[in-house]
């Protein structure tokens, strides 16, 4: 497994931290963090991560809007996006899949398991 570059966009700093720790600890991947959709898009444009973990519920610009924004830019449209959501319902998962995201990981999750889940979703 090559060293992957992961961008986590979540307004919740504790989540940023546990995801960063967990991924680093479990897989040794590099994790970038962003606290808002706006910041996340900028980071994505500059850092070009291998995958973006995107929180759905965020103030101002939520995950869906952020995803759409990412899709509208040529620099970021190719980056796979995995949604992190507390909305665990089947119907909602289907709805998110319909958007064109690569996958959905529901909260609560164990950040140590994230690299494995991401690899499975993206077939790494």
């Amino acid at each position: 497994m090559n060293t992957k570059r992961i961008l986590i966009i979540d307004d919740e700093e504790t989540i940023q931290t546990v995801v960063q720790f967990g991924i680093k600890m479990a897989a040794g991947w590099k994790v970038f963090t962003a606290s808002s959709g706006f910041e996340g898009i900028q980071t994505a444009q500059t850092e070009k991560p291998d995958v973006i973990l995107l929180d759905v519920m965020m103030p101002d610009m939520d995950g869906i809007a952020t995803f759409k924004e990412l899709q509208s830019h040529s620099e970021t449209e190719q980056i796979p996006v995995i949604l992190l959501t507390a909305k665990a319902q089947t119907a909602e998962k289907r709805q998110f899949n319909d958007l064109g995201v690569s996958g959905v990981i529901t909260k609560p999750f164990n950040s140590l398991d994230l690299p494995e889940q991401i690899s499975r979703i993206l077939h790494w």
Binding site: E12, T14, V18, M25, A86, A91, K107, P108, N110, L112
Partner: protein, 706 residues
């Protein structure tokens, strides 16, 4: 012989002279030129001149011109007499009607003229004629008067008054014979000089039964003089009539022939009294009385008919009045019940209405006024479209049609109130179907569910809060604990490790609990709609078993599955959730080394319904007491609450399973023999069932197209 002849001649001469002299009729001898030759005393009296004066006078001076043309003595055949009538004028210009006989040539050139005065006879004849005519006139006048009235009393009064007038009798009365044999005067016309008999009741002996029979058979009694023994009146009766000054009387019966079969019945008597003198009753008077008695009889029948008719009318009127009363009472009752209905419906803060099959309001309560500002009176007869406006009507139209097709329907709508606020309403239409299955309209009930909606929104918001606000820190907590547990951030003491383990377990339990609460909430609120499609039962079972394999291994449980390729109509994700839930329970409550079976069977549905699939999860655990078999499906119910903590359950798993299965129109239950394990089973419809119910729907719709 000669002597005898002479004697005879003398006798004849003497006889003739006597006859001539004393004859009552006028006798005259006239010559060929109709001049008087001689005449008798009667002729002198008739013509008003002496014999001397008359002799030689021309007959023409005394008789009408017509006669002069009549007899011509010369032309008379010998001994043929001529008869006829003529008018004779005396010198006193007194004209008389005479019957004459002219006997020609009783002596040579001498004719005998006999004149008999018939003017008196004529007069009496004419008087008779006049009387008869008068009688007819009177009679028709009286009968007309009688006929003009239908009131018996008036008829009788008219009769006695008229008879009294015509007969010039002193008293005329109608005596009614009563059934007990007594009788009384019921109508009377009497001159003021004489006592009245009106309303006087007579005992039976005055008019005994045998007399009544005679009268009933048409007896008529005309008594000229009550005191005349020839009249045959008993002394006591004479005495009796004397007190009323009756001198002569005329009695005719009033007989009724009630019907063709019955005998004549003597109803009463029509009686005329003469009080000032005896009286010879003439035929005309008798006839008049009899005819009037007949008229009275007819009038009686008519009056009785009328009375009966009046009775019938009165009865019918009473009946009608009764009917009217009943109807009025019914109407009053109806009004009252309607008022009561209004009172009740007006007091309720919901819209209540009845709409007919033309979509027009036939009833609506006060709430319409309060909510929409339209009074029930204004709305009555209005079309739904008028009351609700275009947009709202568009939203309700489909449901209105459903209701008018005979199906009850319930839906939610948003309506604009008169104060400009929008309200969410829950609307129910219940069709009004008559005996012939014709939909006459529907009952409409709309209640304000804005508050419920607000609460629902709050609940949604709360769920959203739990989802996000609670899960986010949980995620951090969970991950942080897991990271700590790796030991790569530093080693913990044994106690530290133990505490970390407890924190980790508790966090996991909390995560499950939150997940379950959310799941249940979602399903219960009806927000979750099962997206059913044809699924393979075998696939579902394999997936569920795979998902639980790790847990089974951990608990040292053998998981045995017997999948079958049967199509089932279900939402695969939710059925998987139910299956894994049941498997997880079975594993948790089995002892290490035990076995858990997952099977499926196709079984006949209950009540001859189509076949359905039955999934079963069987374990060899401790089992469930019979009284707990149903309770375990309730929220937070576990057989042994200490188990819950030990086994890490939330107490919501089975409740969620039941909700999921019920949403699939299936059933879920538990069977157990304590000590020998438990079996959890649930049914799901097969494709066959679904097809049948769909076909049913199509057929139903097809029916409506006709």
């Amino acid at each position: 012989m000669k002597k005898f002849q002479h004697q005879r001649r003398t006798y004849n001469k003497h006889l003739i002279q006597n006859l001539f002299k004393n004859a009552h009729d006028a006798i005259a001898l006239i010559d060929d030129h109709l001049y008087f030759v001689d005449m008798n005393i009667a002729a002198c009296d008739l013509l008003g001149l002496s014999r001397k004066q008359l002799k030689g006078q021309a007959l023409a001076n005394f008789i009408t011109a017509e006669f002069t043309r009549q007899p011509n003595s010369l032309s008379f055949p010998p001994a043929q007499s001529l008869m006829g009538e003529l008018l004779v004028s005396s010198s006193a210009q007194n004209q008389r009607e005479m019957e004459y006989t002219l006997i020609p040539n009783v002596l040579p050139c001498c004719h005998l003229l006999l004149l008999r005065d018939i003017s008196h006879r004529r007069e009496s004849m004419q008087a008779e004629l006049r009387q008869q005519q008068q009688r007819v006139e009177l009679f028709s006048e009286v009968t007309l008067k009688i006929r003009q009235s239908l009131q018996l009393k008036e008829i009788l009064h008219t009769t006695v008054t008229e008879v009294q007038r015509i007969l010039q009798a002193d008293r005329v009365l109608i005596y009614q014979v009563l059934p007990d044999g007594t009788g009384k005067t019921i109508s009377e016309a009497v001159l003021p000089d004489y006592p009245t008999l009106m309303d006087l009741e007579f005992p039976e002996e005055v008019f005994p039964q045998e007399y009544q029979h005679l009268y009933a058979h048409g007896r008529v009694r005309a008594t000229v003089d009550v005191h005349d023994p020839a009249a045959g009146l008993a002394d006591c009766l004479v005495e009796f009539v004397d007190q009323f000054q009756i001198k002569a009387k005329l009695i005719v019966p009033i007989v009724q022939n009630l019907n063709a079969q019955s005998q004549n019945h003597l109803w009463g008597l029509l009686i005329a009294h003469q009080c000032d003198s005896v009286r010879h009753w003439v035929d005309f008077e008798l006839e008049l009385m009899q005819q009037l008695a007949d008229q009275i009889s007819i009038a009686l029948s008519q009056a009785q008919l009328l009375e009966r008719l009046e009775e019938v009318v009165a009865d019918r009127t009473a009946e009608l009045q009764e009917e009217i009363n009943v109807r009025m009472q019914a109407e009053a009752a109806l009004r009252q019940s309607e008022e009561q209905l209004r009172l009740i419906t007006n007091a309720l803060p919901v819209l209540i209405a009845y709409v007919d099959d033309q979509q027009q309001y036939r009833f609506n309560n006060q709430a319409y006024q309060d909510w929409l500002g339209q009074s029930p009176k204004e709305i009555y007869g209005s079309h739904l479209h008028q009351v609700w406006g275009e947009d709202c009507y568009q939203r309700m139209q489909v449901y209105v049609k459903t209701a008018l097709s005979g199906q009850a329907v319930n839906y939610e709508n948003d309506i604009l109130l008169k104060d400009g606020s929008w309200r969410a309403v829950d609307v129910t239409y219940i069709p009004d179907v008559d005996d012939q299955n014709t939909v006459k309209g529907f009952f409409a009930l709309s209640s304000d569910i804005s508050d419920c909606k607000a609460i629902e929104r709050m609940k949604d918001e709360f769920i959203s809060v739990i989802s996000h606000e609670l899960r986010t820190p949980l995620t951090s907590l969970h991950s942080a604990l897991k990271i700590l547990a790796t030991g790569r951030l530093g080693s913990l003491s044994t106690e530290g490790q133990q505490m970390l383990g407890i924190a980790d377990d508790s966090t996991e339990r909390l995560v499950r609990l939150v997940n379950n609460v959310l799941d249940l909430q979602r399903i219960e609120s009806g927000k979750v709609i099962m997206e059913c499609q044809a699924c393979n039962a075998a696939n579902l079972m394999i997936q569920a078993a795979e998902a639980m394999q790790a847990m089974a291994q951990q608990h040292e449980i053998t998981l045995v599955k017997q999948p079958q390729d049967i199509s089932v109509w279900a939402d695969a994700d939710y059925i998987l959730q139910a299956l894994t839930n049941l498997l997880s329970n079975a594993i948790k409550f089995s002892s290490p080394g035990g076995t858990v079976w997952l099977t499926v069977e196709q079984e006949q549905g209950s009540q001859n319904l189509p076949r359905e699939l039955v999934f079963r999860v069987r374990d060899e655990g401790q089992g469930i007491p019979a009284d707990q078999l149903e309770r375990i499906f309730e929220k937070f119910q576990q057989v042994d609450s200490s188990d819950s903590r030990k086994k890490g359950g939330t107490g919501l798993g089975l409740t969620i399973c039941r909700k999921i299965i019920e949403q699939h129109n299936g059933r879920i239950w538990a069977e157990s023999t304590p000590g020998c394990g438990s079996t959890f089973a649930f049914t799901l419809p097969t494709l066959e069932c679904v097809n049948i119910s769909w076909r049913g729907i199509y057929e139903y719709e097809a029916d409506f197209n006709y």
